[in-house]
């Protein structure tokens, strides 16, 4: 096949065991690698890049087997978490570095092309220490692409960017993947980046692939705390937290719907109003505004819920009593896998 193809990859790093991992990233597509800290995302990327030895398995890039190749011959455009810019070289020297290594005759001209493409021309004579985090990330990406890679491995490539810069880069990267037919495997903690860029999501858990599929299929996967947070669910209760509020009239519904890891209360499942009866008594502890509308933070016994209240100013103030009710049919159980896998 074309693209990046990983089959039964295993690696050992101290007491951590990665794999077996199977994944395929076709040319011109992006796969986002998700997982909690310690799930093995960076280990997988560094094993693919050749910086960690694999214990078993096969890595192919197009028709080429990479298993025995050193990092410099694998053909990956690798961007590590700290970007790895050379502090003693200016931006244009950083970008020209892989071109000179390859003996490209017009390395400076070719580097300038990448510098322009990533809108770095005005920064070309600066050293990395004179750049903002977002500018450094653009330099790292330009340099990785200038190396003429056959695939891209990026570890948190857009972590320090503001939303607008991130969106500009996402569009640029997306276009590059298509025009240059490159497969991209990226580690990210940012749902917006993953969902905007990735054709496929791979979730790692304790070194193994827990989910591998199109982003929209994530909604059908049994949730754990990590996935629930990733998908934007704000109200999560563990079994212990449910039991701590056993006096509440909501407790029995929550307990009944809970899985081994607790319960997720989706936005539509929790309703509040100012009526005198029905549901359970609670109190407004904070009001927060964000671009998606108002959020009313409500305390009920030991629980704190965040309830989306829409764009209109909610007719309550901090300290006001409200009544809370629950649509039990919408509750989702939490599996306990992430608890076991926490690292």
């Amino acid at each position: 096949m074309s693209g990046l193809d990983v089959e039964g990859l295993e690696a050992v790093r101290g007491s951590f065991r990665l794999g077996p991992v199977d994944l395929a990233v076709p040319d011109g597509s992006a796969t986002a690698l998700l997982g909690r800290s310690g799930a093995g995302k960076t280990t997988l990327l560094r094993t693919l890049a050749g910086f960690l030895p694999s214990a078993r398995g096969r890595i192919r890039l197009g028709p080429t087997s990479l298993d025995r190749l050193p990092p410099e011959r694998r053909g990956f455009g690798f961007v590590p978490p700290n970007l790895g810019l050379f502090p003693h070289q200016r931006v244009r020297e950083n970008v020209a570095y892989p071109l000179r290594l390859r003996g490209v005759r017009d390395a400076t001209v070719e580097a300038a092309r990448w510098i322009d493409r990533f809108q770095l021309r005005e920064l070309a004579d600066r050293f990395p220490s004179q750049l903002s985090s977002g500018q450094q990330q653009r330099v790292a990406m330009a340099r990785a692409l200038a190396s003429g890679p056959r695939a891209l491995l990026w570890d948190e490539p857009l972590a320090a960017l503001d939303v607008e810069s991130r969106d500009v880069l996402l569009r640029l990267v997306r276009a590059l993947l298509v025009s240059d037919h490159l497969p991209l495997l990226l580690v990210t903690h940012d749902p917006a980046t993953a969902l905007a860029l990735a054709d496929r999501i791979v979730v790692l858990e304790r070194g193994r692939v827990r989910f591998d599929g199109r982003p929209e299929l994530l909604a059908e996967v049994p949730l754990d705390r990590f996935l629930a947070r990733f998908l934007g669910f704000e109200n999560l209760l563990s079994l212990a937290e449910i039991d701590a509020g056993s006096d509440s009239v909501l407790a029995s519904d929550l307990r009944a719907a809970a899985g081994p890891g607790g319960v997720v209360i989706p936005p539509g499942a929790l309703r509040w109003d100012r009526s005198a009866s029905g549901g359970t008594r609670a109190r407004v502890s904070a009001l927060r505004w964000n671009p998606g509308g108002w959020v009313v933070v409500v305390d009920e016994g030991p629980w704190t819920f965040q309830i989306r209240a829409g764009p209109e100013t909610p007719g309550v103030r901090v300290g006001d009593p409200v009544r809370l009710s629950l649509d039990a049919a919408q509750l989702k159980p939490l599996s306990d896998r992430a608890e076991e896998g926490a690292a």
């Binding site: 560094r46 890049a49 050749g50 910086f51 050193p70 990092p71 410099e72 694998r74 990956f76 455009g77 690798f78 961007v79 590590p80 978490p81 700290n82 970007l83 790895g84 810019l85 050379f86 502090p87 003693h88 070289q89 200016r90 020297e93 020209a96 570095y97 892989p98 000179r100 290594l101 390859r102 790292a140 340099r143 990785a144 190396s147």
Partner: protein
């Protein structure tokens, strides 16, 4: 700002200024005492000029050897974990903590012609006692630790991500070392070389035992002389005015070298050299 903060800052300022004054005022006193006449007098003294030329030659060789041996050791200590690493790190500090008069005696005993090591070195035609190689050995012993320590710190500060980037961009391990690791650590290494040079030139104790007088032998083909510091020590009892002038001149040479290297570093020349191939 609270009154307590003001008082604390004043105390800290006075204490810091006291230390800086201690560093600077003796040198000012030295130069003020001898004046330009004394410095020029020392500069025109043939005996001291010869001693100074010899010292610059010997210290140049010593720093070269210190870099040749100290930089690799600093790299190994910074990048590799191996059994006995902490022992090696402690051994690197030994020259810093033992009295340098003792260094001279120990080196003399080791390189005495009757000793196997001394006999072997003598058989190679490398005289140590009262010769330039004795001075170089002492300078290397008392100063190379600084090269090792600063190189180690400099190499340790080179991020793994930087090296891995170089490799994934197509550099072999050797290319990554020469084009990324070494240039990134260059400033630290340069600092170590300066410290080593300064320490070697200011040495007295080891020279007194091993090379009080220095007789001609390659690469020193000049007349019989002394290391500059020993020359000053010697003349302090004979002609204190000349000795103080020579001391002031030695200080100016050392400070001049320091200032020139710092200034060149600021011009970006080293940066240009570090990135010469790109």
């Amino acid at each position: 700002m609270s009154r307590g903060t003001v008082v604390a800052r004043v105390i800290a300022g006075v204490l810091s200024a006291s230390l800086i004054a201690l560093f600077v005022l003796p040198l000012v006193a030295l130069v003020a005492y001898t004046g330009w006449d004394g410095i020029l007098g020392a500069a025109s003294n043939g005996g001291f000029r010869t001693a100074l030329e010899f010292t610059l030659l010997a210290s140049g060789i010593a720093v070269g050897l210190g870099l040749l041996t100290g930089v690799p050791l600093g790299y190994v200590l910074a990048r590799y974990r191996f059994p006995g690493r902490s022992v090696v790190e402690s051994l690197v500090l030994v020259p810093v903590v033992i009295p340098h008069l003792v260094v001279g005696i120990a080196l003399l005993l080791l390189f005495a012609p009757g000793n196997p090591v001394g006999g072997w070195v003598a058989s190679l035609g490398i005289p140590v006692f009262e010769a330039i190689w004795g001075v170089v050995l002492v300078m290397l012993y008392v100063g190379a630790s600084y090269v090792v320590l600063t190189s180690q710190l400099a190499f340790r500060s080179v991020d793994d991500d930087v090296l891995e980037s170089a490799r994934s961009l197509g550099a072999t391990p050797a290319e990554a070392f020469l084009t990324v690791t070494l240039p990134s650590a260059a400033r630290g290494i340069l600092t170590g070389a300066l410290l080593m040079w300064a320490r070697g030139v200011s040495e007295v104790g080891g020279f007194i035992i091993l090379a009080y007088a220095v007789y001609p032998s390659p690469p020193w083909n000049g007349p019989v002389t002394n290391p500059a510091s020993v020359w000053i020590y010697d003349y302090y009892g004979i002609d204190p005015g000349l000795a103080v002038g020579a001391a002031a001149l030695l200080v100016l040479v050392a400070l001049g070298l320091f200032v020139v290297i710092r200034a060149v570093d600021r011009t970006g020349l080293f940066t240009a050299l570090r990135g010469w191939w790109s």
